[in-house]
Symmetry: C2
Subunit: 311 residues, 2 copies
Protein backbone atom coordinates (compact mmCIF):
# COMPACT_ATOMS: atom_id res chain seq x y z
CA UNK A 1 0.00 0.00 0.00
CA UNK A 2 1.82 3.09 -1.23
CA UNK A 3 -1.06 5.53 -0.93
CA UNK A 4 -2.24 7.67 2.00
CA UNK A 5 -4.25 6.06 4.80
CA UNK A 6 -7.87 7.15 5.08
CA UNK A 7 -7.65 8.08 8.78
CA UNK A 8 -4.86 10.45 9.73
CA UNK A 9 -2.97 10.02 12.98
CA UNK A 10 -2.15 13.74 13.12
CA UNK A 11 -4.96 16.26 13.46
CA UNK A 12 -2.90 18.66 11.30
CA UNK A 13 -3.29 16.53 8.20
CA UNK A 14 -6.96 15.77 8.74
CA UNK A 15 -10.29 17.32 7.89
CA UNK A 16 -10.63 18.67 11.45
CA UNK A 17 -7.63 20.94 10.81
CA UNK A 18 -9.50 22.92 8.14
CA UNK A 19 -13.20 22.85 9.06
CA UNK A 20 -16.15 22.80 6.73
CA UNK A 21 -15.86 26.02 4.71
CA UNK A 22 -12.16 25.55 3.96
CA UNK A 23 -12.77 21.90 3.13
CA UNK A 24 -15.42 22.86 0.57
CA UNK A 25 -12.88 25.29 -0.89
CA UNK A 26 -10.32 22.48 -1.14
CA UNK A 27 -12.86 20.15 -2.73
CA UNK A 28 -13.65 22.75 -5.39
CA UNK A 29 -9.93 23.14 -6.07
CA UNK A 30 -9.41 19.38 -6.23
CA UNK A 31 -12.36 18.99 -8.59
CA UNK A 32 -11.06 21.80 -10.83
CA UNK A 33 -12.77 21.76 -14.19
CA UNK A 34 -15.05 18.94 -13.04
CA UNK A 35 -16.88 21.55 -10.92
CA UNK A 36 -18.48 24.52 -12.70
CA UNK A 37 -19.32 27.69 -10.78
CA UNK A 38 -22.70 28.32 -9.12
CA UNK A 39 -25.54 28.36 -10.04
CA UNK A 40 -24.57 25.71 -12.60
CA UNK A 41 -22.29 24.16 -10.00
CA UNK A 42 -21.24 24.09 -6.35
CA UNK A 43 -22.10 27.09 -4.18
CA UNK A 44 -25.85 27.63 -4.14
CA UNK A 45 -28.76 25.92 -2.38
CA UNK A 46 -29.37 23.81 -5.48
CA UNK A 47 -27.57 23.33 -8.76
CA UNK A 48 -29.43 24.78 -11.74
CA UNK A 49 -29.44 22.63 -14.88
CA UNK A 50 -30.98 22.74 -18.32
CA UNK A 51 -33.83 20.20 -18.42
CA UNK A 52 -33.22 16.67 -19.71
CA UNK A 53 -33.94 15.94 -23.37
CA UNK A 54 -36.18 12.92 -23.82
CA UNK A 55 -36.76 11.11 -20.53
CA UNK A 56 -34.87 12.06 -17.39
CA UNK A 57 -33.00 9.33 -15.49
CA UNK A 58 -32.11 9.57 -11.79
CA UNK A 59 -30.04 7.21 -9.66
CA UNK A 60 -28.06 7.21 -6.41
CA UNK A 61 -25.25 4.96 -5.13
CA UNK A 62 -22.66 5.35 -2.39
CA UNK A 63 -19.17 4.06 -1.68
CA UNK A 64 -18.71 3.10 1.97
CA UNK A 65 -15.27 2.59 3.49
CA UNK A 66 -14.98 -1.05 4.55
CA UNK A 67 -17.74 -2.17 2.20
CA UNK A 68 -17.17 -0.86 -1.34
CA UNK A 69 -13.46 -0.19 -0.85
CA UNK A 70 -10.85 -0.68 1.85
CA UNK A 71 -7.25 0.14 2.75
CA UNK A 72 -6.00 -1.79 -0.26
CA UNK A 73 -7.88 0.51 -2.65
CA UNK A 74 -6.02 3.61 -3.78
CA UNK A 75 -8.05 6.72 -2.88
CA UNK A 76 -8.29 7.78 -6.54
CA UNK A 77 -9.79 4.39 -7.38
CA UNK A 78 -12.37 4.76 -4.61
CA UNK A 79 -13.33 8.19 -6.00
CA UNK A 80 -13.53 6.92 -9.56
CA UNK A 81 -15.57 3.91 -8.43
CA UNK A 82 -18.18 6.18 -6.88
CA UNK A 83 -18.96 7.80 -10.22
CA UNK A 84 -18.52 4.57 -12.21
CA UNK A 85 -21.13 2.72 -10.12
CA UNK A 86 -23.67 5.40 -10.92
CA UNK A 87 -22.65 5.65 -14.59
CA UNK A 88 -23.25 1.92 -14.84
CA UNK A 89 -26.87 2.47 -13.76
CA UNK A 90 -27.34 5.10 -16.47
CA UNK A 91 -25.74 2.72 -18.99
CA UNK A 92 -28.20 0.02 -17.96
CA UNK A 93 -31.11 2.20 -19.12
CA UNK A 94 -29.35 3.09 -22.38
CA UNK A 95 -28.97 6.70 -21.21
CA UNK A 96 -26.42 9.50 -21.19
CA UNK A 97 -25.18 10.96 -17.91
CA UNK A 98 -25.75 14.67 -17.25
CA UNK A 99 -24.60 15.93 -13.83
CA UNK A 100 -23.97 14.70 -10.30
CA UNK A 101 -24.28 15.88 -6.70
CA UNK A 102 -22.22 14.43 -3.87
CA UNK A 103 -22.94 14.04 -0.15
CA UNK A 104 -19.91 13.31 2.03
CA UNK A 105 -20.37 11.98 5.55
CA UNK A 106 -17.02 11.54 7.22
CA UNK A 107 -15.04 11.38 10.40
CA UNK A 108 -13.05 14.54 11.07
CA UNK A 109 -9.89 12.38 11.25
CA UNK A 110 -10.10 11.59 7.53
CA UNK A 111 -6.75 12.49 6.00
CA UNK A 112 -6.62 15.45 3.63
CA UNK A 113 -4.00 13.67 1.51
CA UNK A 114 -6.32 10.67 1.16
CA UNK A 115 -9.27 12.91 0.36
CA UNK A 116 -7.27 14.78 -2.29
CA UNK A 117 -6.58 11.41 -3.91
CA UNK A 118 -10.25 10.47 -3.72
CA UNK A 119 -11.28 13.70 -5.46
CA UNK A 120 -8.56 13.45 -8.09
CA UNK A 121 -9.96 10.07 -9.12
CA UNK A 122 -13.53 11.36 -9.06
CA UNK A 123 -12.57 14.48 -11.05
CA UNK A 124 -10.70 12.52 -13.71
CA UNK A 125 -13.65 10.18 -14.23
CA UNK A 126 -16.03 13.15 -14.21
CA UNK A 127 -14.05 14.96 -16.94
CA UNK A 128 -13.66 11.81 -19.00
CA UNK A 129 -17.43 11.38 -19.20
CA UNK A 130 -18.32 15.07 -19.28
CA UNK A 131 -20.34 14.77 -16.06
CA UNK A 132 -19.86 17.86 -13.87
CA UNK A 133 -20.12 17.62 -10.07
CA UNK A 134 -22.63 20.41 -9.51
CA UNK A 135 -23.27 20.42 -5.79
CA UNK A 136 -23.27 18.53 -2.55
CA UNK A 137 -23.09 18.46 1.20
CA UNK A 138 -20.52 17.68 3.89
CA UNK A 139 -21.55 16.17 7.24
CA UNK A 140 -19.78 14.69 10.21
CA UNK A 141 -19.94 10.89 10.68
CA UNK A 142 -17.91 9.58 13.62
CA UNK A 143 -15.68 6.63 12.74
CA UNK A 144 -16.70 6.19 9.12
CA UNK A 145 -16.59 7.47 5.54
CA UNK A 146 -19.61 7.39 3.22
CA UNK A 147 -19.68 9.23 -0.11
CA UNK A 148 -23.08 9.19 -1.80
CA UNK A 149 -23.46 10.38 -5.37
CA UNK A 150 -26.74 11.09 -7.14
CA UNK A 151 -26.54 11.18 -10.91
CA UNK A 152 -29.05 12.54 -13.37
CA UNK A 153 -29.10 11.43 -16.99
CA UNK A 154 -31.30 11.42 -20.02
CA UNK A 155 -32.61 8.81 -22.43
CA UNK A 156 -33.20 10.51 -25.76
CA UNK A 157 -34.42 7.47 -27.68
CA UNK A 158 -36.00 5.32 -24.97
CA UNK A 159 -35.18 4.14 -21.46
CA UNK A 160 -34.67 0.36 -21.49
CA UNK A 161 -36.25 -1.06 -18.36
CA UNK A 162 -35.86 -4.41 -16.66
CA UNK A 163 -39.38 -5.49 -17.39
CA UNK A 164 -39.66 -6.03 -21.16
CA UNK A 165 -38.50 -9.65 -21.54
CA UNK A 166 -40.84 -12.35 -22.84
CA UNK A 167 -40.79 -16.12 -22.89
CA UNK A 168 -38.27 -17.38 -25.40
CA UNK A 169 -36.12 -14.23 -25.43
CA UNK A 170 -32.36 -14.67 -25.65
CA UNK A 171 -30.17 -13.61 -22.74
CA UNK A 172 -26.97 -11.72 -23.58
CA UNK A 173 -24.17 -10.38 -21.45
CA UNK A 174 -21.27 -8.03 -22.21
CA UNK A 175 -17.70 -8.68 -21.06
CA UNK A 176 -16.64 -11.41 -18.63
CA UNK A 177 -17.93 -12.31 -15.18
CA UNK A 178 -16.49 -13.30 -11.80
CA UNK A 179 -13.34 -12.56 -9.81
CA UNK A 180 -14.14 -8.85 -9.70
CA UNK A 181 -12.56 -8.18 -6.32
CA UNK A 182 -9.39 -10.24 -6.94
CA UNK A 183 -8.75 -8.64 -10.32
CA UNK A 184 -9.43 -5.05 -9.26
CA UNK A 185 -12.28 -4.94 -11.79
CA UNK A 186 -14.64 -3.87 -8.96
CA UNK A 187 -13.17 -0.36 -9.09
CA UNK A 188 -11.37 -0.25 -12.44
CA UNK A 189 -14.28 -1.28 -14.67
CA UNK A 190 -15.44 0.78 -17.62
CA UNK A 191 -19.15 1.66 -17.38
CA UNK A 192 -20.87 0.33 -20.52
CA UNK A 193 -22.36 3.68 -21.52
CA UNK A 194 -21.65 3.48 -25.24
CA UNK A 195 -22.85 -0.11 -25.46
CA UNK A 196 -26.00 0.66 -23.44
CA UNK A 197 -26.89 3.62 -25.66
CA UNK A 198 -26.30 1.50 -28.79
CA UNK A 199 -28.48 -1.32 -27.44
CA UNK A 200 -31.27 1.13 -26.58
CA UNK A 201 -31.50 2.01 -30.27
CA UNK A 202 -32.05 -1.65 -31.22
CA UNK A 203 -35.72 -2.58 -31.04
CA UNK A 204 -34.96 -6.29 -30.52
CA UNK A 205 -33.43 -5.43 -27.13
CA UNK A 206 -36.38 -5.67 -24.76
CA UNK A 207 -34.91 -5.41 -21.27
CA UNK A 208 -31.61 -4.50 -19.70
CA UNK A 209 -29.83 -4.07 -16.36
CA UNK A 210 -26.31 -3.93 -15.02
CA UNK A 211 -24.80 -6.77 -13.00
CA UNK A 212 -23.88 -5.67 -9.50
CA UNK A 213 -24.78 -8.53 -7.15
CA UNK A 214 -23.95 -11.47 -9.44
CA UNK A 215 -25.86 -12.96 -12.38
CA UNK A 216 -27.47 -15.69 -10.24
CA UNK A 217 -29.24 -13.09 -8.12
CA UNK A 218 -29.67 -10.23 -10.58
CA UNK A 219 -31.18 -12.18 -13.49
CA UNK A 220 -34.39 -12.68 -11.49
CA UNK A 221 -35.22 -9.03 -12.15
CA UNK A 222 -35.23 -9.59 -15.94
CA UNK A 223 -37.02 -12.94 -15.91
CA UNK A 224 -40.64 -12.83 -17.14
CA UNK A 225 -43.38 -14.28 -14.93
CA UNK A 226 -43.81 -18.03 -15.35
CA UNK A 227 -40.31 -18.41 -16.77
CA UNK A 228 -36.84 -19.32 -15.57
CA UNK A 229 -33.52 -18.13 -16.94
CA UNK A 230 -32.05 -21.19 -18.67
CA UNK A 231 -28.32 -20.48 -18.63
CA UNK A 232 -25.72 -22.86 -19.97
CA UNK A 233 -22.61 -23.14 -17.82
CA UNK A 234 -20.13 -23.64 -20.68
CA UNK A 235 -21.38 -20.51 -22.43
CA UNK A 236 -20.71 -18.23 -19.43
CA UNK A 237 -17.97 -15.71 -20.29
CA UNK A 238 -15.68 -16.01 -17.29
CA UNK A 239 -12.85 -13.72 -16.27
CA UNK A 240 -9.48 -15.46 -16.42
CA UNK A 241 -9.22 -17.77 -13.42
CA UNK A 242 -12.88 -17.44 -12.37
CA UNK A 243 -15.01 -20.53 -11.76
CA UNK A 244 -18.62 -20.87 -12.90
CA UNK A 245 -19.71 -20.24 -9.31
CA UNK A 246 -17.65 -17.06 -9.14
CA UNK A 247 -19.05 -15.87 -12.48
CA UNK A 248 -22.56 -16.34 -11.07
CA UNK A 249 -22.11 -15.12 -7.51
CA UNK A 250 -19.17 -12.76 -7.02
CA UNK A 251 -20.99 -9.59 -8.03
CA UNK A 252 -19.56 -6.18 -8.98
CA UNK A 253 -19.26 -7.21 -12.63
CA UNK A 254 -20.86 -3.96 -13.83
CA UNK A 255 -21.57 -5.62 -17.16
CA UNK A 256 -24.84 -5.32 -19.05
CA UNK A 257 -27.22 -8.25 -19.15
CA UNK A 258 -30.13 -7.89 -21.56
CA UNK A 259 -32.97 -9.76 -23.19
CA UNK A 260 -33.27 -9.95 -26.98
CA UNK A 261 -36.43 -10.96 -28.81
CA UNK A 262 -36.55 -14.73 -29.39
CA UNK A 263 -37.49 -14.01 -33.02
CA UNK A 264 -34.39 -11.91 -33.61
CA UNK A 265 -31.83 -13.19 -36.11
CA UNK A 266 -28.93 -13.49 -33.77
CA UNK A 267 -26.01 -13.62 -36.20
CA UNK A 268 -26.63 -10.22 -37.86
CA UNK A 269 -27.40 -8.66 -34.46
CA UNK A 270 -24.13 -9.94 -33.05
CA UNK A 271 -22.19 -8.84 -36.14
CA UNK A 272 -23.56 -5.29 -35.83
CA UNK A 273 -22.60 -5.16 -32.17
CA UNK A 274 -19.09 -6.38 -32.91
CA UNK A 275 -18.64 -3.87 -35.66
CA UNK A 276 -19.63 -1.12 -33.25
CA UNK A 277 -17.62 -2.52 -30.32
CA UNK A 278 -14.83 -4.74 -31.62
CA UNK A 279 -13.19 -4.91 -28.18
CA UNK A 280 -16.29 -5.72 -26.11
CA UNK A 281 -17.10 -9.37 -25.72
CA UNK A 282 -20.77 -10.22 -26.35
CA UNK A 283 -22.16 -13.60 -25.35
CA UNK A 284 -25.53 -15.27 -25.63
CA UNK A 285 -25.72 -17.21 -22.37
CA UNK A 286 -29.19 -18.73 -22.63
CA UNK A 287 -32.85 -17.84 -22.88
CA UNK A 288 -35.98 -17.37 -20.81
CA UNK A 289 -37.79 -20.73 -20.79
CA UNK A 290 -41.23 -21.62 -19.41
CA UNK A 291 -40.90 -23.09 -15.92
CA UNK A 292 -41.92 -26.56 -17.05
CA UNK A 293 -39.66 -26.63 -20.08
CA UNK A 294 -36.18 -25.72 -18.86
CA UNK A 295 -33.54 -27.80 -20.67
CA UNK A 296 -31.97 -30.40 -18.40
CA UNK A 297 -28.45 -29.11 -19.02
CA UNK A 298 -29.23 -25.54 -17.84
CA UNK A 299 -27.72 -24.36 -14.56
CA UNK A 300 -29.98 -24.57 -11.51
CA UNK A 301 -29.60 -20.95 -10.44
CA UNK A 302 -31.36 -21.64 -7.15
CA UNK A 303 -28.19 -23.53 -6.14
CA UNK A 304 -26.24 -20.27 -6.35
CA UNK A 305 -26.56 -17.11 -4.35
CA UNK A 306 -25.51 -13.65 -5.38
CA UNK A 307 -24.05 -11.06 -3.05
CA UNK A 308 -26.38 -10.48 -0.12
CA UNK A 309 -26.17 -7.11 1.61
CA UNK A 310 -26.96 -6.53 5.29
CA UNK A 311 -26.45 -10.11 6.45
Amino acid sequence: MKHARIFSSSSRGSVSAVGELALIGLIRRWLGKASPKAPRGIGDDCAVLRPARGRELLTVDPVVYGVHFDDQTAPAEAGAKLLRRNLSDIAAMGGRPRAAVLALALDSRVSLAWLRGFFSGLAAESRRHGVPIVGGDVARLPGAFVATLALTGEARARAVTRSGSRRGDWIYVTGTLGGSLRSGHHHAFEPRLAQGAWLARRREVRSMMDLSDGLAKDIAALTPRGCLAAIFGPSLPRRRGATVREALCDGEDYELVFGVSGRCRRAPFERSFRRAFPRTRLTCIGRFAPRGAVPADALRLSDYRGYEHLR
Copy 2:
Protein backbone atom coordinates in the same frame (compact mmCIF):
# COMPACT_ATOMS: atom_id res chain seq x y z
CA MET B 1 -38.76 8.52 24.84
CA LYS B 2 -41.74 6.41 23.89
CA HIS B 3 -40.59 5.42 20.45
CA ALA B 4 -38.46 2.49 19.25
CA ARG B 5 -34.68 2.63 19.71
CA ILE B 6 -32.63 2.87 16.55
CA PHE B 7 -30.40 -0.13 17.33
CA SER B 8 -32.20 -3.34 18.25
CA SER B 9 -30.88 -5.62 20.96
CA SER B 10 -32.48 -8.65 19.32
CA SER B 11 -31.35 -9.78 15.90
CA ARG B 12 -34.95 -10.87 15.18
CA GLY B 13 -36.26 -7.33 15.18
CA SER B 14 -33.38 -5.89 13.18
CA VAL B 15 -32.47 -5.40 9.54
CA SER B 16 -30.12 -8.43 9.67
CA ALA B 17 -33.15 -10.66 10.23
CA VAL B 18 -34.59 -9.87 6.81
CA GLY B 19 -31.64 -9.14 4.50
CA GLU B 20 -31.52 -6.72 1.61
CA LEU B 21 -34.22 -7.92 -0.80
CA ALA B 22 -36.86 -8.36 1.90
CA LEU B 23 -35.89 -5.01 3.39
CA ILE B 24 -36.45 -3.28 0.07
CA GLY B 25 -39.86 -4.97 -0.07
CA LEU B 26 -40.66 -3.64 3.40
CA ILE B 27 -39.50 -0.15 2.46
CA ARG B 28 -41.80 -0.15 -0.58
CA ARG B 29 -44.68 -1.24 1.64
CA TRP B 30 -43.86 1.42 4.25
CA LEU B 31 -43.65 4.10 1.57
CA GLY B 32 -46.96 3.01 0.08
CA LYS B 33 -48.35 5.63 -2.28
CA ALA B 34 -45.21 7.72 -1.81
CA SER B 35 -43.42 5.16 -4.00
CA PRO B 36 -44.70 4.63 -7.56
CA LYS B 37 -43.86 1.45 -9.47
CA ALA B 38 -40.81 1.09 -11.74
CA PRO B 39 -39.79 2.56 -14.13
CA ARG B 40 -41.34 5.72 -12.66
CA GLY B 41 -40.34 4.48 -9.22
CA ILE B 42 -38.31 1.97 -7.20
CA GLY B 43 -37.22 -1.22 -8.94
CA ASP B 44 -35.06 -0.41 -11.93
CA ASP B 45 -31.46 0.72 -12.42
CA CYS B 46 -32.64 4.34 -12.60
CA ALA B 47 -35.94 6.08 -12.10
CA VAL B 48 -37.43 7.46 -15.32
CA LEU B 49 -38.98 10.93 -15.06
CA ARG B 50 -40.55 13.45 -17.39
CA PRO B 51 -38.05 16.29 -17.91
CA ALA B 52 -38.20 19.42 -15.76
CA ARG B 53 -40.14 22.41 -17.06
CA GLY B 54 -38.10 25.61 -16.97
CA ARG B 55 -34.78 25.08 -15.21
CA GLU B 56 -33.98 21.87 -13.38
CA LEU B 57 -32.86 22.07 -9.74
CA LEU B 58 -30.82 19.36 -8.01
CA THR B 59 -29.78 19.07 -4.38
CA VAL B 60 -28.64 16.45 -1.88
CA ASP B 61 -28.67 16.36 1.94
CA PRO B 62 -28.41 13.57 4.50
CA VAL B 63 -29.59 12.92 8.01
CA VAL B 64 -26.91 11.25 10.14
CA TYR B 65 -27.76 9.56 13.45
CA GLY B 66 -25.96 11.44 16.22
CA VAL B 67 -25.60 14.61 14.12
CA HIS B 68 -28.94 15.62 12.57
CA PHE B 69 -31.07 13.63 14.99
CA ASP B 70 -30.56 11.46 18.08
CA ASP B 71 -32.36 9.14 20.48
CA GLN B 72 -34.66 11.96 21.56
CA THR B 73 -36.00 12.37 18.01
CA ALA B 74 -38.99 10.22 17.10
CA PRO B 75 -38.13 8.08 14.04
CA ALA B 76 -40.98 9.63 12.01
CA GLU B 77 -39.54 13.09 12.69
CA ALA B 78 -36.09 11.97 11.53
CA GLY B 79 -37.63 10.65 8.29
CA ALA B 80 -39.66 13.81 7.73
CA LYS B 81 -36.62 15.96 8.47
CA LEU B 82 -34.65 14.23 5.72
CA LEU B 83 -37.12 15.35 3.07
CA ARG B 84 -37.75 18.76 4.68
CA ARG B 85 -34.04 19.68 4.62
CA ASN B 86 -33.96 19.07 0.89
CA LEU B 87 -37.30 20.78 0.26
CA SER B 88 -35.90 23.84 2.02
CA ASP B 89 -33.09 23.97 -0.57
CA ILE B 90 -35.62 23.88 -3.41
CA ALA B 91 -37.63 26.60 -1.64
CA ALA B 92 -34.49 28.74 -1.43
CA MET B 93 -34.28 28.83 -5.25
CA GLY B 94 -38.00 29.58 -5.60
CA GLY B 95 -38.56 26.13 -7.13
CA ARG B 96 -41.02 23.27 -6.97
CA PRO B 97 -39.91 19.80 -5.88
CA ARG B 98 -40.30 16.91 -8.33
CA ALA B 99 -38.95 13.54 -7.14
CA ALA B 100 -36.39 12.06 -4.76
CA VAL B 101 -34.00 9.11 -4.52
CA LEU B 102 -32.74 7.76 -1.21
CA ALA B 103 -29.50 6.01 -0.26
CA LEU B 104 -29.52 4.23 3.10
CA ALA B 105 -26.24 3.20 4.73
CA LEU B 106 -26.94 1.41 7.97
CA ASP B 107 -25.80 -1.07 10.57
CA SER B 108 -27.55 -4.40 10.31
CA ARG B 109 -28.66 -4.01 13.94
CA VAL B 110 -30.96 -1.11 13.05
CA SER B 111 -34.40 -1.92 14.41
CA LEU B 112 -37.16 -2.67 11.91
CA ALA B 113 -39.71 -0.94 14.17
CA TRP B 114 -37.56 2.19 14.22
CA LEU B 115 -37.08 2.03 10.46
CA ARG B 116 -40.82 1.64 9.88
CA GLY B 117 -41.32 4.82 11.90
CA PHE B 118 -38.63 6.61 9.89
CA PHE B 119 -40.31 5.67 6.61
CA SER B 120 -43.80 6.55 7.85
CA GLY B 121 -42.56 10.09 8.54
CA LEU B 122 -40.77 10.28 5.21
CA ALA B 123 -43.81 8.93 3.35
CA ALA B 124 -46.23 11.36 5.01
CA GLU B 125 -44.02 14.33 4.11
CA SER B 126 -43.55 12.96 0.59
CA ARG B 127 -47.31 12.66 0.03
CA ARG B 128 -47.98 16.07 1.53
CA HIS B 129 -45.70 17.74 -0.99
CA GLY B 130 -46.43 15.41 -3.90
CA VAL B 131 -42.78 14.32 -4.11
CA PRO B 132 -42.52 10.60 -4.91
CA ILE B 133 -39.55 8.55 -3.69
CA VAL B 134 -38.53 7.02 -7.01
CA GLY B 135 -35.46 4.94 -6.24
CA GLY B 136 -32.52 4.31 -4.00
CA ASP B 137 -29.88 2.05 -2.61
CA VAL B 138 -29.24 0.13 0.60
CA ALA B 139 -25.69 -0.47 1.90
CA ARG B 140 -24.14 -1.78 5.06
CA LEU B 141 -22.44 0.72 7.41
CA PRO B 142 -21.14 -0.76 10.67
CA GLY B 143 -22.15 1.17 13.77
CA ALA B 144 -24.01 4.01 12.09
CA PHE B 145 -27.07 5.23 10.20
CA VAL B 146 -26.89 7.68 7.30
CA ALA B 147 -29.86 8.40 5.03
CA THR B 148 -28.99 10.58 2.04
CA LEU B 149 -31.73 12.01 -0.14
CA ALA B 150 -31.24 13.64 -3.51
CA LEU B 151 -34.10 15.81 -4.70
CA THR B 152 -34.81 17.16 -8.15
CA GLY B 153 -37.02 20.18 -8.70
CA GLU B 154 -37.85 22.78 -11.28
CA ALA B 155 -37.92 26.56 -11.45
CA ARG B 156 -40.51 27.54 -14.01
CA ALA B 157 -40.17 31.33 -13.69
CA ARG B 158 -36.53 31.75 -12.64
CA ALA B 159 -34.12 30.20 -10.15
CA VAL B 160 -33.22 32.77 -7.49
CA THR B 161 -29.52 32.39 -6.72
CA ARG B 162 -27.42 33.66 -3.85
CA SER B 163 -25.46 36.06 -5.98
CA GLY B 164 -27.82 38.83 -7.12
CA SER B 165 -27.61 41.31 -4.19
CA ARG B 166 -26.22 44.83 -4.66
CA ARG B 167 -25.07 47.57 -2.35
CA GLY B 168 -28.00 49.16 -0.57
CA ASP B 169 -30.36 46.20 -0.97
CA TRP B 170 -32.66 45.41 1.93
CA ILE B 171 -32.26 42.15 3.83
CA TYR B 172 -35.42 40.24 4.71
CA VAL B 173 -36.04 37.06 6.63
CA THR B 174 -39.13 34.87 7.04
CA GLY B 175 -40.26 33.47 10.38
CA THR B 176 -38.24 33.61 13.62
CA LEU B 177 -34.68 32.59 14.39
CA GLY B 178 -32.80 30.78 17.16
CA GLY B 179 -33.54 27.98 19.64
CA SER B 180 -34.18 25.50 16.84
CA LEU B 181 -32.94 22.44 18.70
CA ARG B 182 -34.61 23.25 22.01
CA SER B 183 -37.98 23.97 20.40
CA GLY B 184 -38.00 20.96 18.08
CA HIS B 185 -38.11 23.34 15.10
CA HIS B 186 -34.98 21.61 13.70
CA HIS B 187 -37.13 18.67 12.59
CA ALA B 188 -40.69 20.05 12.71
CA PHE B 189 -40.17 23.10 10.48
CA GLU B 190 -42.27 23.79 7.43
CA PRO B 191 -40.13 24.23 4.28
CA ARG B 192 -40.91 27.66 2.81
CA LEU B 193 -41.84 26.34 -0.63
CA ALA B 194 -44.89 28.52 -1.24
CA GLN B 195 -43.12 31.64 0.01
CA GLY B 196 -40.01 30.89 -2.07
CA ALA B 197 -42.04 30.40 -5.24
CA TRP B 198 -43.95 33.65 -4.58
CA LEU B 199 -40.72 35.58 -3.98
CA ALA B 200 -39.19 34.19 -7.20
CA ARG B 201 -42.02 35.89 -9.13
CA ARG B 202 -41.17 39.31 -7.62
CA ARG B 203 -38.49 41.08 -9.64
CA GLU B 204 -37.37 43.17 -6.65
CA VAL B 205 -36.13 39.97 -4.95
CA ARG B 206 -32.54 39.67 -6.14
CA SER B 207 -31.00 36.89 -4.08
CA MET B 208 -32.18 34.18 -1.74
CA MET B 209 -30.99 31.26 0.39
CA ASP B 210 -32.22 29.19 3.31
CA LEU B 211 -30.73 29.50 6.78
CA SER B 212 -29.14 26.28 7.95
CA ASP B 213 -25.95 27.23 9.82
CA GLY B 214 -27.16 30.46 11.42
CA LEU B 215 -27.60 33.95 9.98
CA ALA B 216 -24.18 35.18 11.19
CA LYS B 217 -22.45 32.57 9.03
CA ASP B 218 -24.90 32.14 6.16
CA ILE B 219 -25.41 35.83 5.30
CA ALA B 220 -21.87 36.03 3.94
CA ALA B 221 -23.04 34.06 0.90
CA LEU B 222 -25.59 36.78 -0.02
CA THR B 223 -23.37 39.77 0.74
CA PRO B 224 -22.08 41.65 -2.34
CA ARG B 225 -18.35 42.24 -2.70
CA GLY B 226 -17.16 45.34 -0.87
CA CYS B 227 -20.19 45.33 1.42
CA LEU B 228 -21.14 44.11 4.86
CA ALA B 229 -24.54 42.99 6.07
CA ALA B 230 -25.68 45.77 8.43
CA ILE B 231 -28.12 44.00 10.72
CA PHE B 232 -29.91 45.69 13.60
CA GLY B 233 -30.15 43.55 16.72
CA PRO B 234 -33.56 44.86 17.87
CA SER B 235 -35.10 44.06 14.48
CA LEU B 236 -34.09 40.36 14.57
CA PRO B 237 -37.20 38.17 14.73
CA ARG B 238 -36.32 35.80 17.57
CA ARG B 239 -38.07 32.61 18.55
CA ARG B 240 -39.66 32.87 21.98
CA GLY B 241 -36.88 32.63 24.57
CA ALA B 242 -34.02 32.92 22.07
CA THR B 243 -31.26 35.48 22.62
CA VAL B 244 -29.76 37.60 19.84
CA ARG B 245 -26.72 35.33 19.86
CA GLU B 246 -28.92 32.24 19.46
CA ALA B 247 -30.86 33.88 16.63
CA LEU B 248 -27.57 34.53 14.85
CA CYS B 249 -25.66 31.33 15.62
CA ASP B 250 -27.88 28.35 16.47
CA GLY B 251 -28.55 27.27 12.90
CA GLU B 252 -31.22 24.91 11.55
CA ASP B 253 -33.70 27.78 11.18
CA TYR B 254 -34.67 26.69 7.64
CA GLU B 255 -36.09 30.16 7.05
CA LEU B 256 -35.57 32.16 3.87
CA VAL B 257 -33.22 35.11 3.89
CA PHE B 258 -33.30 37.27 0.78
CA GLY B 259 -32.14 40.55 -0.67
CA VAL B 260 -34.62 43.09 -2.04
CA SER B 261 -33.69 46.00 -4.31
CA GLY B 262 -32.81 49.10 -2.30
CA ARG B 263 -35.05 51.08 -4.64
CA CYS B 264 -38.09 48.92 -3.86
CA ARG B 265 -41.01 50.55 -2.08
CA ARG B 266 -41.00 48.39 1.01
CA ALA B 267 -44.48 49.00 2.38
CA PRO B 268 -46.42 47.74 -0.70
CA PHE B 269 -44.01 44.80 -1.05
CA GLU B 270 -44.58 43.79 2.55
CA ARG B 271 -48.34 44.24 2.24
CA SER B 272 -48.46 41.93 -0.78
CA PHE B 273 -46.45 39.28 1.04
CA ARG B 274 -48.71 39.47 4.07
CA ARG B 275 -51.80 39.19 1.95
CA ALA B 276 -50.36 36.05 0.37
CA PHE B 277 -49.01 34.62 3.66
CA PRO B 278 -50.91 36.12 6.58
CA ARG B 279 -49.37 33.60 9.00
CA THR B 280 -45.73 33.94 7.94
CA ARG B 281 -43.75 36.62 9.70
CA LEU B 282 -41.69 38.81 7.36
CA THR B 283 -39.01 41.11 8.75
CA CYS B 284 -36.61 43.59 7.22
CA ILE B 285 -33.50 43.06 9.35
CA GLY B 286 -31.07 45.45 7.68
CA ARG B 287 -29.33 46.18 4.41
CA PHE B 288 -26.09 45.61 2.56
CA ALA B 289 -23.86 48.61 3.31
CA PRO B 290 -20.48 49.58 1.82
CA ARG B 291 -17.66 48.40 4.11
CA GLY B 292 -16.73 51.95 5.10
CA ALA B 293 -20.27 53.08 5.78
CA VAL B 294 -21.79 50.54 8.14
CA PRO B 295 -24.02 52.25 10.71
CA ALA B 296 -22.48 52.23 14.19
CA ASP B 297 -25.48 50.51 15.74
CA ALA B 298 -25.35 47.50 13.38
CA LEU B 299 -24.31 44.15 14.85
CA ARG B 300 -20.66 43.19 14.38
CA LEU B 301 -21.31 39.81 12.79
CA SER B 302 -17.63 38.87 13.04
CA ASP B 303 -18.22 38.57 16.80
CA TYR B 304 -20.64 35.71 16.16
CA ARG B 305 -20.01 32.31 14.67
CA GLY B 306 -22.55 30.09 12.97
CA TYR B 307 -22.60 26.34 13.24
CA GLU B 308 -19.25 24.92 12.20
CA HIS B 309 -19.23 21.37 10.86
CA LEU B 310 -16.30 18.99 11.18
CA ARG B 311 -14.59 20.74 14.11
